[in-house]
Symmetry: C2
Subunit: 369 residues, 2 copies
Amino acid sequence: MENSIGLVQTKYLNLDKTIELESGKCLKNIQIAYETYGKLNENKDNVILICHALTADAHAAGYHSENDRKPGWWDAMIGPDKAFDTNKFFVVCSNVLGGCKGTTGPASINPDTNKPYGHDFPVITVEDMVKVEKELIDYLGIKKIITVGGSMGGMQAIEWAIKYPDYVDSVIITASAARLSAQGIAFNAVGRNAIISDPNFNNGDYYEGVHPERGLAIARMVGHITYLSEQAMHNKFGRNFKDKPRFDFDVDFQVESYLEYQGRIFVDRFDANSYLYITKALDYYDPISKYGSLENAFKNTNARFLVITFSTDWLFSTEQAKEVVGALVNINKDVSFVELKSPCGHDAFLIEFENQTKIIKSFLKKCGE
Amino acid sequence: MENSIGLVQTKYLNLDKTIELESGKCLKNIQIAYETYGKLNENKDNVILICHALTADAHAAGYHSENDRKPGWWDAMIGPDKAFDTNKFFVVCSNVLGGCKGTTGPASINPDTNKPYGHDFPVITVEDMVKVEKELIDYLGIKKIITVGGSMGGMQAIEWAIKYPDYVDSVIITASAARLSAQGIAFNAVGRNAIISDPNFNNGDYYEGVHPERGLAIARMVGHITYLSEQAMHNKFGRNFKDKPRFDFDVDFQVESYLEYQGRIFVDRFDANSYLYITKALDYYDPISKYGSLENAFKNTNARFLVITFSTDWLFSTEQAKEVVGALVNINKDVSFVELKSPCGHDAFLIEFENQTKIIKSFLKKCGE
């Protein structure tokens, strides 16, 4: 636990109000799972809100117990003297709405039926996720935040600045963009098809039976192809066999073995319905279409922006992120942009800590000054 | 039928010898489906062998009947005055071993059991496909050919030059390479997983019941993502909805509708087992690993090579094809290389006829001179 924030625990906030969603539907009794690291200062203005990507959770840093083998998913970035320095900042991270790690999602109990929502869970959007995060920030009595996110987390960070311009002092997005490409939607669609086609899916109401594990594993395999660059896959596995050519249809190449493994371990920690709902939210998010242009979307923002991309990320490419940068420049907003050279593809935001830390530290120096 | 070779028919050759495969297993009673266009000259040296890609067949040009709505899959390239000019050349195209369009494959009757092979069909390789094509060429009494292929067809064209150097006068490969990338293998692995996970797959022995159609459709969806460039997908569909956001998990975006359609129509024309076997052959082909280097693989070839790539093809990228070009240059073989600018991705070899025709016509002018 050296160099870590140490032992942390997940807390829960239960909202007693009903939240109206983008779809027009409502959700009541929402629970929010969240963690905090560092100390909130007296003015409550040293707050960083970390927004997570597709399959992560509120446990962004530290350890849950002395015996934990692994720390939170962004532990390398959050802690004493790290990019998000817990000696200075009060860092908050919550599980997104629709997730399966403590915040209300399709596997949660529907108070109207006392059974898991399953397919009765309403389709949610990134806007809805942010609306729920705002409830948490209000509960904590905070009125000024820095929003930060990688991948889908970046979309939430952006949405915060658009929707609550008076709250957001700065925005940091990494390996993210204002919207998914057609190709990104296509990959999500294939993943959802694999889940829905699983005979155990049962129209989303599978909680009392066998879960659609094969479908979810296949969706995860598709995902992992898009998280790695072609070069990273080549460097990691090349065309190497696990052993030698098998001349059958079992796992043959190392890259197959990697995907199979990623699929297999994923089903133990993630709910297939959450995968459906969250990828859908990803697909839908599109402030350009909603506001007519990104310039219009960002018109009222008061935040400084830092946009970080990775040279071999083809899921959230530099070109896509430049839409954000270009729009902010066009309307004279404060924006910094860095493309980091990395062979790691989209996963780079979870791997390339050193360069991200340098840039983020320098950007955060100006905060609150 | 204007500007077409006109009415054609598929012919069948039944081999009476047993073919030993790369795996060491044997296949007997192999049937080869093939078509020919144009006239074989007296010297039998005006022959072009077209090798097809993953899901095509022997019907490369012309129409099967007056009422046919669509001609063969490369009709724009094969015919009078076309790239492969049937006024000059005798063009041959056969369905690959393992296919489902007339040549023996997993859906064929196993003479030992009088039932479809199903999962008893042996794993085959590109080398095996070429070995069977050689039987056809021998049967036709031909000793000199030009081999041509796009995508996996290009691998067969290359293998011909390596394996039968005295037979092959020229090689034309388009949107192809000497071997698939790790990423290419990964996509095939996902497709195979979708098929094998389909509850109707039944370990490949599904011919008397319902076929694993959902699995095959999902495999095809994955394939189609890789056939289009990101740019082509953006241009064709962008982030447009089919109608408006549905807020459910039915087909929402136009790109989803496209993939769904491609999956749906594919299952009517293709066998899931053939998809497994042929993608496996694609994964396995690797003359670099087999011969230690491409230079060594090409050492004894006597052919002139033409290598065509497309700028946005990311399944068989220009960089991959340059491995072939570089190796041929290194050992002083005759090779021409053109990268065509195209937004169409891998599919370009089935779309960009004009530029391919110009280059191929010019290359073929020298043949037989």
